[in-house]
């Protein structure tokens, strides 16, 4: 799981057809690439092929010609590939409101190296979490929401995302509904943590809904956003047992741990290039 420092990650997907695996592995062999982990999956229901390979950089490796060669090889298969260099750390923007448990967790994991990412900015509609971002030395943008002019706030948010060069946006309990337009821009590039086991309790106050139903388990769902904020492809879900003695505020407290862990797990999968979109589902290799 941990990798030697010269390890590249290659991921690709394309329609299912004979020869996909061979096309990738043969190319890697011809380039002298030593494969340390290879996982591929051919989904017989969706008819799509997914592959993720970790390989050690060979001597005299030239990224440009490697990419060119691979593109040529994959062309006939309609293969979309992604190549991640050893020391790549994706730039990330984290969006928050007032709750800090997910932000605290993400920044902690980034600081100790468990999440190999660079948090370029924290963006919020509230000023509350600025001290936390400050302590980690990360720029904090407070863009208050004008209920009569939401679009202008979203433009500010989008500008930060764009200028930061972020590959990933993390909605770490942002608590605002994004406009369809912004959702579209973030399609497949933003991970949201939903404070419920989807599709169990969509909508407002899921822990109160759960309390009223008397559930014995509460959970959280990390998913990509698409045009419907609470409906994108699920990456990870977490769950914990509760009982009758948990009042709604206890469920919320319990939920914090699950939300933090589940979001961190999903972000880790994304950063390690383990997640593939497969229509409205994900493949996690």
């Amino acid at each position: 799981m941990s990798r030697a420092p010269d390890t590249w990650i290659l991921t690709a997907d394309c329609p299912s057809v004979l020869g996909t695996v061979d096309a990738v592995t043969r190319f890697l062999f011809e380039q002298g690439c030593y494969v340390t982990e290879h996982h591929s999956f051919d989904d017989r229901l969706s008819g799509r092929f997914f592959i993720r390979v970790e390989f050690r950089q060979p001597e005299g490796f030239d990224e440009q010609s490697f990419r060119a060669g691979l593109a040529e090889r994959g062309e006939g298969f309609g293969m979309i590939f992604e190549l991640t260099p050893p020391h790549h750390r994706p730039k990330v923007v984290i969006m928050v409101s007032k709750a800090d448990h997910c932000l605290n967790d993400l920044l902690y994991r980034q600081r100790i190296g468990q999440l190999s990412m660079d948090v370029a900015a924290v963006v919020s509609n509230h000023p509350d979490l600025k001290p936390l971002a400050d302590w980690h030395g990360i720029p904090y943008y407070h863009f208050p929401l004008d209920p009569n002019d939401k679009p202008s706030q979203e433009r500010q948010v989008w500008q930060v995302i764009e200028e930061s060069g972020a590959e990933l946006v993390i909605l770490a309990r942002y608590m605002q509904v994004l406009s369809p337009e912004l959702c579209r821009k973030l399609d497949g590039k933003a991970i949201n943590i939903h404070h419920s086991l989807l599709p169990g309790f969509k909508g407002a106050k899921p822990y109160h809904q759960a309390y009223n139903k008397g559930v014995k388990l509460v959970g959280a769902t990390a998913h990509y956003i698409n045009n419907d904020l609470d409906e994108g492809p699920i990456i990870a879900q977490g769950v914990e047992a509760v009982d009758h003695s948990h009042y709604p505020e206890d469920l919320i407290a319990k939920g914090r741990d699950i939300e933090g862990l589940t979001l961190a797990r999903a972000v880790g999968y994304h950063i390690e290039r383990r997640v593939f979109l497969n229509a409205n589902r994900t493949v996690v290799l």
Copy 2:
């Protein structure tokens, strides 16, 4: 958890008011009853008090006068109590269709003594599981469903339940919608296993629904039935992790283990008098 062989169980509930705990414990003390476990819970949202006590039978114990005395003591509190003798084994009727994993599990646990119940009958709309019941020496009633006359089949079912003296009916994947009338008769006396984490995927083919949503967890819910078959108070829920490689049939296989374990857990709680109805929720002490 395991009990000395002379242990009685006393359970009671009533509206919240000062003095409820004392009323029960003082009475037990006056009767010379040695308390080995006592758990009470006062729900500040529903305003209801619940208590479960295990006690050793004192010398010269007289059940009738004990009951009479307790009734008197609890009267002012509106207390409803239940007293379970040491060797009580509730009579149970199990209803099944064709799937045998829950029945197999329940009969096995009864046979080894993990579930202290007497299965008086297995009732089914199909003949398939007769050999399994036969092997355990349990009467099997096959009542086929006539789509044009469901009520007459339900009358047969009900007759078996009544004549057996069953305190509990277990719907171990019965797969049929019961009539509102039968649901009413079984209110709080029948446990159903729903092959999904409610309220996630109600309705038909929950595992296919779960597959289509790309969930990363599947679960099962054991609950009392009330007038709405899939909506009664939840007793226990179980869950297990799945991934993209689980096709619908794999989710179903995975589900079997969770269903069996979750149903057995709920039945165990019921038999040990741990479950209290609290409006549309349960308290499990």
Copy 3:
């Protein structure tokens, strides 16, 4: 689980004998105390009785006379009791070395109110975690270890503990063996997190030991310390699945989450007065 703001906690234990439950509940009733949760357990193997009660403060409540009355009532039973006022926040000293994941987690939970305690000081043999303590506004004492004179460092540590009035010491990955003398002073008052499922891998480098054994689960154990640092009564244990792809450094990373969660759970139980010593075991009510 969450409590009304005027809730007291009463805990007690004594040798098993008829009348223990009644003695406590009758006294509470006579004092007009409204009981919201009551849990008692009589251990038939160790012959000891344990009780934990939450009650609402009645009008005109006088703590001194309440304590005096309770002491009198419990005297014949050899009852040791503890009474915790509604707004009590125990003072706590946290001891650390260089690893910060447990400290980060504890300070975070204290800050958001999930752990109702006042961290009076962080004590360490290294300076590394000072910035983290500073940010939370907590005094940090750096007492380096002189290998030729460990006792003098321990005296410094003990002085901080004593002067702070701490009821609880948390060894949040302190990584040093305490002297038998200090262990004795901290007996039952200090919680340690052992980075392994005891008694599986005691001693140094438990994750490397686990790797070499090819285990499929790693865990952590939170326990009171007694004269043997790694052997005191267990309060909580946590576990997570691993596989062949987890190298030792991956097990360590995985372990961090379990250690943090397990330690926080144990500290929470202690603070809520749920933990009783029962010879070399604990009862958690």
Copy 4:
């Protein structure tokens, strides 16, 4: 996970070297084999490569020439491979003593098709479980143990194993120490369920040991046997939470569920050719 009915499984392992993956995938491609799942892992600590591939049978497939070609291709790599046809059901012998929970579980899963194996015989040193085997139509061999002549009983056991053509022996709570000689014969071919989380509580009465230590988790370990019965490479481990109210007999009851599930999981992995020996560890792909 579930497979199309014409799916073959190819597994192989060899020392780590450039070209291993390519050797296998290129050969499969040249043979026209459609790969549906491919997982390979190169262990950088042990320096060994492991691969598991599922592929659909191409038209005109000839097993003999396929095997010959593959052997040739793998020769330079020192590759040991195994090829499993679509409808292969390994023959299995199950050894038991008196406890039936694991046997019940295995036979049930075999009957419903969740474990694709043929149980050729159940062998025991006690007659107790004969009715259970009978009901499933499986020959039951009762070989009582003469304490003065254990070798002759082991010879009887071995004869059944040999004559049945079993590829796998399952020690489903056999409770007898096997002789070093029999252990050697079964090396890597027999799965044992140890009723404890190894290396936690080896030796007799692990649940009583666990009770005395006051653990909050109990578990079970499924592993291959080698010359040391309780020490072979671990395949799967399971765990469940317990508390102070679990007396030793309750831990044993709790343990039954974990043992059954963990053993079934390990057997499933073995049957699906997911388990590779890697010195004293396993790789499960």
